[in-house]
């Protein structure tokens, strides 16, 4: 078993699936001999050739449109948007075609594609590279939106995303691409989509998060434990379709919930979770549901980016606020 980073887990999953399924191809800008700007496709072109690891012209709309066309004709394209900030030129194809293909043809055609994109702040990247706009895709019926938070979940969830018969937007929090290493067995075993992962059991408070914020949230849970507060930590992992049942089950036990996400607050996925709790978990709540999020302001350039993103301190403030309500 290899001890690998999350970005290496992405590469390992791509390689496994390409090895075992001829219909899987990878395409995007610089994904070929260069191995991708984050090295997520490193070595794949050398191993599988340029017909299956396809460098595209510099045209994001083309990448998405080709993927839709290939997927509808029996291929399983895994497309890469070099950064999520460049994904907007692909949105037309994702919303108007990928998401609707099965429905509008009554299942005659389908669109089993994956659109991967590194996203989120924290690596001192230039403009347009640090936003977290996963909620845009979560709002679209017909898409799956999956966000890993560790090497093992990146491996298992990406395999599941490629095998899924419907389109998946797979967003990779690039701040944690190389944050830590984990033992991941390259055995081709996928992890279930559409379910939350409970990372830490607790009884006093539920912390709900996903992606890179899992790191700060787990750290906050450690600090809370020092204060004698037992926090349950849930990694949502698939933000659409959303597994509210696991979150509600946790809140039924703890009675308190803080939602943490890097994205702006307005219409963020946290709002959907809070609404779900208001609908089905209200009578189990001892305190208002709090959100710790990015601000509803433009993601700052890198000097100030860490001020924009939720910190352990901000998570603790919200946790303590809800704990004070008895």
């Amino acid at each position: 078993m290899a001890s690998i980073t999350m970005v290496e887990a992405v590469t390992m999953a791509l390689a496994w699936e390409m090895e075992h399924d001829d219909s899987v191809v990878v395409l995007g800008e610089d994904v070929g001999i260069n191995g991708g700007v984050f090295r997520a496709t490193a070595g794949l072109a050398q191993r599988f050739g340029d017909e299956r690891v396809i460098d595209t012209p510099l045209a994001e709309t083309m990448i998405a449109g080709l993927s839709v066309g290939m997927a509808a004709q029996g291929m399983k394209p895994v497309a890469e948007a070099q950064f999520m900030g460049f994904i907007y030129a692909m949105v037309d194809h994702m919303i108007c075609h990928a998401a609707r293909m099965r429905h509008r043809t009554r299942g005659r055609l389908s669109c089993p594609m994956v659109l991967r994109a590194p996203f989120g702040g924290g690596i001192h990247a230039p403009e347009h590279r640090s936003e977290s706009t996963e909620a845009l895709f979560a709002h679209i019926p017909g898409l799956r939106v999956v966000i890993p938070s560790s090497p093992s979940r990146a491996y298992g969830l990406l395999l599941a995303a490629i095998r899924d018969p419907d389109p998946v937007v797979f967003l990779e929090p690039k701040r944690i691409y190389r944050l830590n290493k984990e033992e991941v067995e390259d055995n081709g075993e996928d992890l279930p989509l559409d379910v939350c992962y409970v990372l830490r059991d607790g009884t006093d408070l539920t912390l709900v998060t996903w992606g890179a914020m899992v790191k700060e949230t787990l750290e906050a849970a450690d600090k809370l434990a020092e204060q004698g507060i037992s926090a349950e930590v849930i990694d949502v992992a698939t933000i659409s379709p959303l597994d509210m049942a696991t979150i509600i089950e946790s809140v039924e036990k703890t009675g308190r919930c803080v939602i943490v996400h890097e994205a702006a607050r307005m219409c963020g996925v946290g709002a959907e979770i809070a609404a779900g709790l208001a609908d089905a978990g209200l009578y189990h709540l001892y305190a208002p549901v709090k959100r710790v999020t990015g601000y509803d302001s433009v993601m700052p350039l890198y000097k100030m980016e860490m001020k924009y993103m939720p910190s352990v301190g901000r998570i603790l403030n919200a946790a303590n606020e809800v704990m004070e309500v008895s």
């Binding site: 595209t56 045209a59 449109g65 839709v68 099965r102 005659r108 018969p165 559409d194």
Partner: protein, 357 residues
């Protein structure tokens, strides 16, 4: 003096003039293949009969907004009749003739414009793309299909159509780049009908032809008289079989005219001179083919009368089928969203079935 490092020309092809005469040498064999020409003529007339009826259905409240294909019959039948079943068609939204040639039923078209997704689960080849409204996005889907066929080593060709308006969109130009970069087996048809709703061809750009956009991207590109079924069908066959034989993609600009409003929701008299339309009616594809076939003794009034009756009957059968279909089941709002219904959506489905029954 600078050195010329690139120059280009665009050839224009016409074999059948508006008054029904053959012109030029190197005539395609189709010009003397009267069985095929009569078939094409019959089908073009049937398509026009269908179109007229669809507009009538919309005007009487029995059909939603409908995009007419009036005047495009030769372009559409040239495309569809030149393709093989295993080839893939990625249409925009008014290429009914091409789709009929591929086995799509008239009732499928009515179902789609009649607000029913079952129209896109049509009787044509199961791998063909459905109607594509967002403009030009279908060009990239065709390119993706062509790339899939090429990677799998299948001798199949993807064919797509875009309008003169759609040729201004990035998707079209990106499809040209993809077709060129990957040497894709595909044909991109620009159905230049002179109008993008109310915006005339001259306002899209000042390029002499739209075909030359293909040349800019490295593709073989020609212009043909899209109201001349002989030229249009010949050009399609050449391009499709060339693509099948590994010669790469072709851009074909077919010159025609949108004799109708853009859709039934449009009124072209607001922005278009009637004199222009009168002139266009003298160029249209059906009359010139009839004149030609009649002039060589391959068509007559008796056949025309029989065809009219046959067309009316085919259309009326389709309309009956369409009107008899009824609404789809409530569950159909949910059941095709994903291969497997997610938990929350299953709950919404259950509640909808209870509340809306």
């Amino acid at each position: 003096m600078p050195a010329t490092i690139a120059s280009f020309k665009v050839d224009f092809y016409q074999f059948l003039t508006p008054d029904g005469h053959l012109v030029g040498d190197d005539m395609p064999s189709l010009a003397k293949d009267f069985d095929t020409l009569r078939d094409l003529y019959r089908n073009m007339v049937k398509t026009r009969t269908f179109d007229k009826k669809a507009i009538a259905l919309q005007r009487t409240g029995k059909l939603g907004t409908y995009a007419s294909c009036l005047g495009h019959e030769a372009v559409h039948w040239a495309i569809g009749s030149a393709m093989k079943h295993e080839d893939c068609f990625a249409p925009m939204y008014r290429e009914y003739g091409a789709q009929f040639a591929r086995g799509v039923k008239m009732s499928d078209v009515l179902n789609y414009w009649g607000g029913d997704e079952r129209g896109s689960d049509f009787a044509g080849p199961a791998h063909d793309f459905a109607w594509c409204v967002p403009i030009a996005t279908q060009c990239l889907h065709a390119a993706g299909a062509a790339l899939a066929y090429k990677l799998r080593g299948e001798p199949r060709v993807a064919v797509t159509v875009v309008g003169d308006g759609g040729s201004s969109k990035g998707d079209f130009l990106e499809a040209i780049n993809a077709a060129s970069a990957y040497e894709l087996p595909m044909v991109l048809v620009i159905c230049n009908n002179q109008w993008a709703i109310s915006v005339p061809r001259s306002k899209q750009n000042t390029a002499t032809t739209l075909a030359q956009k293909g040349i800019a991207g490295g593709l073989a590109s020609i212009q043909v008289d899209g109201n001349d079924i002989i030229a249009a069908r010949w050009a399609m066959e050449e391009a499709i079989e060339g693509a099948r034989n590994g010669e790469g993609a072709t851009v074909i600009e077919m010159i025609t005219y949108r004799l109708s409003d853009h859709t039934t929701a449009d009124d072209a008299t607001r922005y278009r001179d009637s004199e222009e339309v009168d002139i266009a009616w003298k160029q249209e594809p059906i009359v010139r083919l009839r004149k030609y076939l009649t002039s060589v003794g391959e068509w007559d009034d008796e056949r025309e009368a029989a065809l009219e009756a046959e067309a009316a009957e085919a259309v009326s059968e389709a309309v009956e089928e369409y009107l008899a279909l009824g609404k789809p089941g409530l569950e159909s709002m949910f059941d095709y969203m994903y291969a497997e219904l997610p938990h929350d959506l299953a709950e919404q489905r259950e509640r909808a079935l209870e509340e809306l029954k």
